[in-house]
């Protein structure tokens, strides 16, 4: 799916890194004025890590998530994902890499209202052209794993917010992604729902998945292994929590 010629040949030690950025900068022009969203950001995220990006609105955390998710491109600097230099990929190459390797979890769940829970989970597998049988097995496995098999035929409007987010997480997991990107995953949930979802994310991380989560809540950020704090497009602190 991904064009090997874009694989960076001299990244050496970065090959084990899931995400590696060097001097990543994002700027845009509006009304003749240049605005800087991110400036010279250097981040390394290892495979299996759970990293939270903490910061207030406008700090640049969502822009980072968008670039990690290949839906936005940096203005300068380098971005290497899973050993591939994706800084200058074309749109189609980004789509191909994204659809099989990156799972998204959204603040507002991102479910398609016309599809039931099963079909929402099935959709990314359809884009990956899996056979019906494989799709069936994979979706059912995820539904079982998240204990939401009973919700399989429910439509989003029939679910609670926490259930919707579980379906959203399931959809991110179903493609067995290399990276899971979660943008304010508990932003639309109450505290009970929020902590339940955080537990789920921790459990997913424990099974080996790499998770990058953007949040403005310090409490939630603490639940990750590492917190990178952003402000005005700069990394200001980086805390590593040693797991027991």
């Amino acid at each position: 799916m991904y064009d090997n010629e874009h694989k960076c040949s001299n990244i050496g030690q970065n090959e084990k890194k899931m995400i590696h950025t060097r001097n990543l900068t994002k700027q845009y022009r509006s009304g003749g004025i240049e605005h800087t969203i991110l400036q010279n950001v250097n981040i390394d995220i290892e495979a299996g890590e759970f990293v939270s990006l903490l910061g207030p609105s406008g700090s640049g955390k969502s822009s980072l998530i968008n670039m990690f998710g290949l839906i936005d491109v940096p203005s300068s600097g380098n971005l290497i994902l899973m050993g591939h230099d994706v800084t200058h990929l074309k749109e189609r190459q980004r789509v191909n890499l994204r659809r099989g390797s990156i799972g998204f979890i959204f603040q507002d769940f991102g479910l398609i209202e016309e599809l039931n829970a099963f079909e929402n989970l099935e959709l990314p597998l359809q884009y990956l052209k899996y056979s019906k049988k494989i799709r069936f097995n994979k979706v059912n496995a995820i539904l079982e794993r998240l204990n939401i098999a009973h919700l399989r035929s429910f439509y989003p409007k029939q679910l609670t917010s926490a259930q919707k987010q579980l379906i959203g997480i399931g959809r991110a997991l179903v493609i067995e992604p290399d990276i899971i990107l979660a943008d304010e995953p508990t932003g639309c949930l109450n505290s009970t729902g929020g902590s339940s979802i955080m537990q789920t994310l921790n459990s997913i991380n424990e099974s080996g998945s790499t998770i990058v989560m953007a949040t403005h809540s310090a409490n939630e950020a603490e639940k990750a292994q590492r917190t990178i704090q952003l402000f005005d497009g700069h990394i200001i602190t980086e805390n590593i929590k040693q797991r027991l």
Partner: protein, 811 residues
């Protein structure tokens, strides 16, 4: 794999979006139904005369040329032509037929006046291969006095009884029924009720005691008395064959011309050629003298096709507008799909599938609507359109193509619109319509305005012309004149019939004539010798009773009307046009010889002002009116009724008719209604075009309103801002108007030239036409622009009246 998913999502979306889906499907359904109706009409028009085997190899011979100064351009040809061409190896079959005059056909007491009685060659079915219900097609018409009936005629006379071997009587001649065939299909340029063997004509003529005439009738090359059809070998080039025949026929034709001309005039002044006209072209491309039925015109087909395409495109544009106007509702879904792996192709395919699903639904409802509407449509417009999906797989194929085309056209723009969205912009709410999108919508407004103005001008112009015909002075007075068909039934005792009618106080005058407007005219060739100059001319002839002139209120230019009292049995009245053609300065007392017969010369007694003895689509030609006398035949009795006539008057005429005829049916109609019928085809077509054009116009206006709504909604943020800054309602309306006016003005200007061209082409079909009323153009422009501006005004006014926060929040 994804197709099933896309269809499922499309169906759920349609269900979810309720009224919006209903609007979209209804709009598409109406568009599809209207287009299919028009296309069925076009299909029937284009398929005229295509049902016979090898119909593309069947031709009708037409005659074109000059006889002295007269242009001949006839659908008929001389009898000997058929005999002449049948020996050519290029010809597979030749069939001639002669239409019989209106006459009563009787089976015992069952009598009907019949106008579709044809005398045909025995091999008629070799070319027009209709299925025989009974009898043998190759032998049924070999003998004289044999008759083949169409199936519907057989049912009319005999019901369920077997007609074979039974005898019918027409004009005192008995015919034995030797066959029954299927009716001619409705889409053919001629129909028949009876086919009599051509050999019968000899008997009829011999009965009249003129054996020389029998011979001349069959051999005279200058007498265009029959319709000749040939089936050529499919490999033959008709143009080359036509040339061969025309060169070769002079061998036979020229000696006859020389003989007929009696060596008194140049042979060069006669030049008749015979042309092969594909029968498939007759209905749309033939407007010759002596056509068997009123033919249509190809310009109608072009207009119909234009309207059908326009309706479909308008439908699609309206669909695009509705879909993209509601696009914001789908942005999130599009963004999400892109994030979880959908490519542009996936998205384009999804939205195309959705449009095709809409199109399928719309076509299904459109077909149901078509089935329901077709009988009414046929009834109101006197059509015989047929539609069957089950029997016509070709129709099915075309409909499938229509579904896909509508789906792709209607869904194409939304598909690429959605596929082109960027996920980041959507998810962060940054999407804004590009200026190019606004320009595209502006162009759509402009084109919808242009087509609306075009349709309005063309339809108004057509009706203007039809009204002109309705109000045009024909040069005679047709008020309160009753026409009794088959007047020859009282020819023997016409004087007594006339006298009896005139005794009734409800009747002002009684007359008779051989033909009326819309009929074929008997033509005579006349020669005027004026000193050393000589002029030969073919003149239509009408035999008239002496009261004909005053009854029709014809205007005498000079001389006097004909009368028996003045001894005018050899008198003639010419119209002004004839006098101009003969170039006679002092016509009264001049003699015109019946061509080829020095013994029969007519004395010009008077000249009448030109009157429309033919429909308005032909220029008034020279005309000779001669007095009915002796054995002269007439077809119609004319009765001028008192304006206060009542049913008793009609009953009295009926009684008198019965007393003076041998139970001949009393068939009558009023002359003014009869003349109106001549324009029925034009009126019918104009009505059909108008109905579709008005519906198309309605759809276009709806489209303009929708587009205006969309553009105004888009501008709502700016409107909110300028309102906050203190702009008055007036200023806002003026600003929006100034943005819109360019599209509307350009649309109006674009419509002018095409509508002028089409209208001119339409009016050229009439020899007498109204000038194109120039006021139609600004009027149509004002109406459409007025509607468009009214829509813009209403929506802007509403928006300008809201608080600024509403517009601000909208964005």
């Amino acid at each position: 794999m994804m197709l099933k998913h896309h269809i499922k999502v499309a169906l759920r979306n349609i269900k979810k979006q309720g009224i919006y889906s209903l609007l979209n499907v209804t709009g598409l359904s109406i568009g599809v139904t209207l287009s299919l109706l028009v296309l069925l009409l076009v299909k029937q028009e284009l398929n005229y005369d295509t049902t016979f085997s090898n119909s593309s190899s069947i031709y009708r011979y037409t005659t074109k040329g000059i006889l002295s100064a007269n242009l001949i351009n006839n659908a008929t040809s001389p009898m000997p032509l058929g005999e002449f061409v049948k020996d050519f190896k290029e010809v597979n079959s030749v069939v001639r037929f002669i239409p019989g005059a209106n006459n009563v056909v009787a089976y015992d007491d069952i009598k009907f006046n019949e106008d579709k009685f044809r005398f045909v060659d025995p091999n008629f079915f070799e070319i027009f291969d209709l299925e025989m219900v009974s009898g043998e097609s190759d032998s049924a018409l070999l003998e004289a006095n044999t008759l083949v009936l169409s199936e519907s005629t057989a049912n009319k006379y005999f019901g369920n009884a077997d007609p074979m071997g039974k005898k019918l009587v027409r004009s005192n001649i008995e015919y034995t029924i030797t066959g029954v065939c299927k009716d001619m299909p409705s889409a053919t340029h001629f129909k028949f009720s009876f086919l009599a063997s051509i050999a019968t004509i000899d008997k009829i003529l011999l009965q009249k005691g003129d054996s020389t005439y029998v011979k001349n009738w069959k051999t005279d090359w200058l007498y265009l008395n029959c319709y000749t059809y040939v089936k050529l070998n499919p490999k033959v080039n008709p143009k080359i064959f036509e040339q061969v025949v025309n060169e070769d026929k002079n061998r036979l034709l020229l000696p006859q011309i020389e003989k007929t001309l009696n060596s008194e005039m140049s042979v060069d002044s006669v030049n008749l050629d015979f042309f092969l006209q594909p029968i498939e072209d007759i209905h749309l491309h033939s407007q010759l003298s002596g056509e068997l039925e009123v033919n249509s015109k190809s310009i109608y087909i072009n207009l119909f096709v234009f309207i059908a395409i326009f309706i479909l495109l308008t439908t699609c544009v309206n669909f695009i507008n509705l879909t993209t106007a509601k696009a914001r509702r789908r942005f999130k879904e599009v963004g999400l799909r892109q994030m979880i792996g959908a490519s542009r192709r996936n998205l384009a395919f999804q939205f195309l599938t959705e449009a095709v699903v809409y199109s399928f639904g719309a076509t299904f409802f459109g077909l149901v609507l078509l089935e329901l509407l077709l009988p009414f449509f046929n009834f109101f417009f006197d059509l015989q359109l047929e539609f069957s999906l089950i029997t016509g797989w070709i129709d099915f194929f075309w409909i499938l193509l229509l579904v896909l085309s509508v789906g792709i056209i209607a869904g194409g723009f939304p598909a690429f619109f959605f596929a082109g969205l960027k996920p980041k912009q959507i998810l962060q709410g940054e999407y804004k319509m590009k200026d190019t999108g606004l320009v595209v919508r502006g162009i759509l407004v402009c084109s919808q305005v242009a087509v609306s103005v075009f349709l309005l001008i063309v339809v108004s112009g057509m009706w203007w012309q039809i009204q002109f015909i309705g109000n045009h002075d024909p040069g005679f007075n047709s008020d309160n004149i009753m026409v009794i068909e088959r007047g020859s039934a009282v020819s023997k005792n016409f004087d007594s019939f006339k006298a009896e009618l005139l005794r009734h106080e409800g009747i002002e005058s009684v007359s008779a004539c051989s033909s009326l407007p819309g009929d074929d005219y008997f033509q005579g060739t006349f020669k005027l010798k004026n000193g050393s100059n000589e002029k030969v001319m073919v003149l239509p002839l009408i035999n008239v009773d002496e009261d004909y002139f005053t009854m029709l209120d014809l205007t005498l230019k000079t001389g006097r009307f004909l009368s028996h009292q003045a001894g005018d049995s050899l008198g003639v009245i010419l119209n002004t046009r004839a006098i101009e053609e003969f170039k006679i300065k002092k016509p009264l007392g001049q003699k015109i010889e019946v061509f080829g017969s020095k013994d029969w010369a007519l004395n010009i007694s008077g000249v009448v002002k030109d009157f429309h003895y033919e429909p308005y689509n032909t220029k008034i030609k020279p005309l000779a009116l001669i007095l009915l006398s002796g054995k002269m035949r007439f077809e119609y009795v004319l009765v001028k009724l008192n304006p206060d006539y009542n049913i008793e008057t009609i009953n009295a005429i009926n009684d008198s008719w019965s007393n003076h005829t041998e139970s001949s049916p009393f068939v009558w109609e009023m002359l003014d209604k009869r003349i109106e019928k001549l324009y029925d085809e034009d009126i019918r077509i104009a009505k059909i075009i108008s109905v579709f054009a008005i519906l198309a116009l309605f759809m276009t206006i709806m489209g303009i309103i929708a587009l205006a709504a969309f553009l105004i909604e888009y501008k709502s943020r700016n409107i909110g801002i300028i309102k906050i800054l203190g702009a008055s309602r007036q200023t806002i309306i003026l600003q929006v108007f100034s943005d819109f006016s360019i599209y509307i003005i350009v649309g109006v200007i674009l419509a002018m030239i095409p509508s002028y061209i089409v209208l001119t082409a339409w009016i050229e079909n009439y020899a007498y036409s109204s000038f194109i009323n120039i006021m139609l153009f600004p009027l149509a422009a004002l109406i459409v622009a007025g509607l468009a501006f009214a829509s813009v005004f209403y929506q802007t006014y509403r928006m300008a009246s809201d608080g600024p926060i509403e517009q601000w929040q909208f964005t």
